[in-house]
């Protein structure tokens, strides 16, 4: 599903011109507008799931969009834990989502062991 951009705004006017950039997310290529955030560029392309939770694998996307909640963290050019809402998209950027990591020392709780789950 594609959400796209707000091309015309009754008060803010038409979308200001901006150069088009290319970047990739998990190996897929996308177009972005120069000056926007990685999170905005991905959302405009219909990408909402930015990572899977490290432990449970549940899908996660942006939440606060101001760099406070850390929900939108991705890996950019090999650096993990980068907030996509605060990071300006650059041409050729290699963005990777997060995925489930091993948790060998985690103890399962009684509820998780119970057959009713």
């Amino acid at each position: 599903m594609s959400y796209g951009r707000i091309e015309h705004h009754p008060v803010l006017g038409p979308l200001p011109p901006a150069a088009t950039l290319s970047f990739s997310f998990d190996g897929n290529n996308y177009k972005a507008r120069e000056g926007e955030s990685v999170a905005a560029a991905l959302l405009a392309n219909g990408v909402r799931t930015l990572r899977l939770h490290e432990e449970h694998g549940s899908p996660r996307g942006i939440y606060c969009n101001i760099g406070h909640c850390m929900e939108c963290r991705v890996t950019i050019s090999g650096i993990t834990g980068v907030r996509s809402c605060l990071t300006q998209v650059k041409n050729g950027m290699d963005v990777r989502s997060g995925t489930v990591l091993p948790s060998p020392f985690r103890q399962t709780t009684e509820a998780e062991r119970s057959p009713s789950l």
């Binding site: 959400y3 796209g4 951009r5 707000i6 899908p59 942006i62 606060c64 406070h68 605060l86 300006q88």
Partner: protein, 403 residues
């Protein structure tokens, strides 16, 4: 270590920009840092009509403040996060950032506010966001957050952003209350929500709501209205305000597919059997704002809990100085108020710091007094009063704490 600046301002929102401008104007060497890629902080998303009909466009207001700070000679850096703040022996400060370390005699924290969350099951699904996130995406990034949304939480902030989303052509299926729990508290009680909304009746876009609100100042009529309030809500800007409905859970497999809602009694208890799913592909959680104070805490600032100002605030005087030498605060970190108040506070902070630093063109005490009066005047004239007791609680804070 970089030690060339007299003042480092953290946060380039309305308060930080105004402060950097006035301090640089007075002759201080100022560095302004912000972790976002654009300058203006939360001014950027703001878009509303003033009582006279003119539009308050935060993007334009931010541009003017940036121009003022730049012309005054302040250095500005974006995309830089401040990660630590420590007092050094000789009454100065060390500031750790993602772009190196700085030493400076004066620091102004203008970090603004963050949104409180009212969590509910399903809130980690992609497509759920704070209402401020939707505002930034819509007005600043100009990206559609979805095709049809539900807003959970009914407050003046939620109403203001709701109208901005509608202006951008985003469809909203409903505004409902959060589920009743320890975190949502009064926000899930229709009586309390109606009371708080009535204080903002002057913002109502339609005459019926505006005059309706006047009648409802009478508590008997108010109870009657709550009991008769239509379950499907009253429409405002084509969005049903469902004061008698709450969200129970956000549903969806890999992303938001809808919100499970239930009718509630005037006191907020869900009515069994009334549950249904409202289809939506995005959800905005509107939980209100609280001052963003971490750096003040890390620095060792004493705090006071002032609910009227949005939570814990660093103790400070009317000149914006904290109890720690050289550390100042301005804007929403001192209490949640409008951007215009933040600008006025920023000017006070910039001038006070220039005075204290004995800057080349330092202002006189009269000029600082004038700037403080301007804060009060701006607060008095503010369109959106985030809390009715702001002025009183501020006066109390300034009187008692700073001797």
């Amino acid at each position: 270590m970089n030690a060339i600046y007299d003042l480092i301002v953290v946060g380039a929102g309305p308060a930080g920009l105004a402060a950097a401008g006035s301090a640089a104007q007075a002759g201080l060497k100022v560095l302004l840092l912000d972790e976002f890629m654009k300058l203006g902080g939360r001014l950027l998303g703001q878009l509303h009509q003033e009582p006279g009909g003119a539009w308050w466009n935060g993007i334009r207001e931010a541009e003017l403040l940036v121009l003022g700070a730049q012309e005054a000679g302040a250095d500005i850096a974006t995309g830089v996060s401040v990660t630590g703040l420590e007092r050094t022996d000789n009454n100065g400060w060390t500031l750790w950032t993602t772009q190196g370390c700085y030493r400076t005699p004066f620091v102004l924290l203008a970090t603004g506010a963050a949104e409180s969350a009212n969590p509910l099951p399903g809130w980690t699904l992609p497509g759920v966001m704070s209402i401020g996130a939707a505002q930034v995406m819509t007005n600043v990034q100009r990206v559609r957050v979805g095709n049809r949304g539900v807003v959970i939480g009914m407050s003046v902030l939620a109403m203001a952003i709701m109208s901005e989303l509608r202006l951008a052509g985003i469809e909203l299926a409903a505004i409902v209350l959060p589920p009743g729990n320890a975190l949502s508290g009064k926000d899930s009680n229709p009586e309390a929500v109606l009371d708080s909304l009535l204080r903002f009746a002057n913002l109502a876009p339609n005459a019926m709501l505006k005059y309706g609100a006047k009648f409802l100042q009478n508590s008997m009529l108010r109870n009657l209205a709550l009991n008769l309030y239509p379950k499907q809500g009253i429409r405002m800007l084509d969005v049903p305000l469902q004061l008698r409905r709450c969200a129970i859970e956000i549903v969806g497999r890999d992303a938001v597919e809808g919100v499970l809602v239930a009718d509630i009694t005037p006191r907020g208890e869900p009515i069994a059997g009334s549950e249904r799913v409202v289809e939506a592909d995005f959800v905005c959680i509107a939980g209100g704002l609280y001052p963003l104070v971490e750096l003040a805490a890390v620095a060792g600032c004493p705090f006071r809990y002032v609910p009227e100002l949005g939570g814990h605030v660093p103790v400070h005087g009317e000149n914006m100085q904290t109890l720690l030498p050289g550390l100042y605060v301005a804007g929403n970190i001192t209490g949640v108020e409008s951007a215009k108040v933040a600008i006025a506070q920023g000017r006070v902070a910039g001038l006070s710091i220039a005075f204290s630093a004995a800057a080349e063109k330092a202002p006189g005490e009269a000029e600082i007094k004038d700037a403080m009066e301007q804060v009060k005047l701006t607060r008095h004239e503010a369109l959106i009063q985030f809390h009715p007791d702001i002025a009183r609680s501020r006066a109390k804070l300034y009187q008692i704490e700073i001797v």
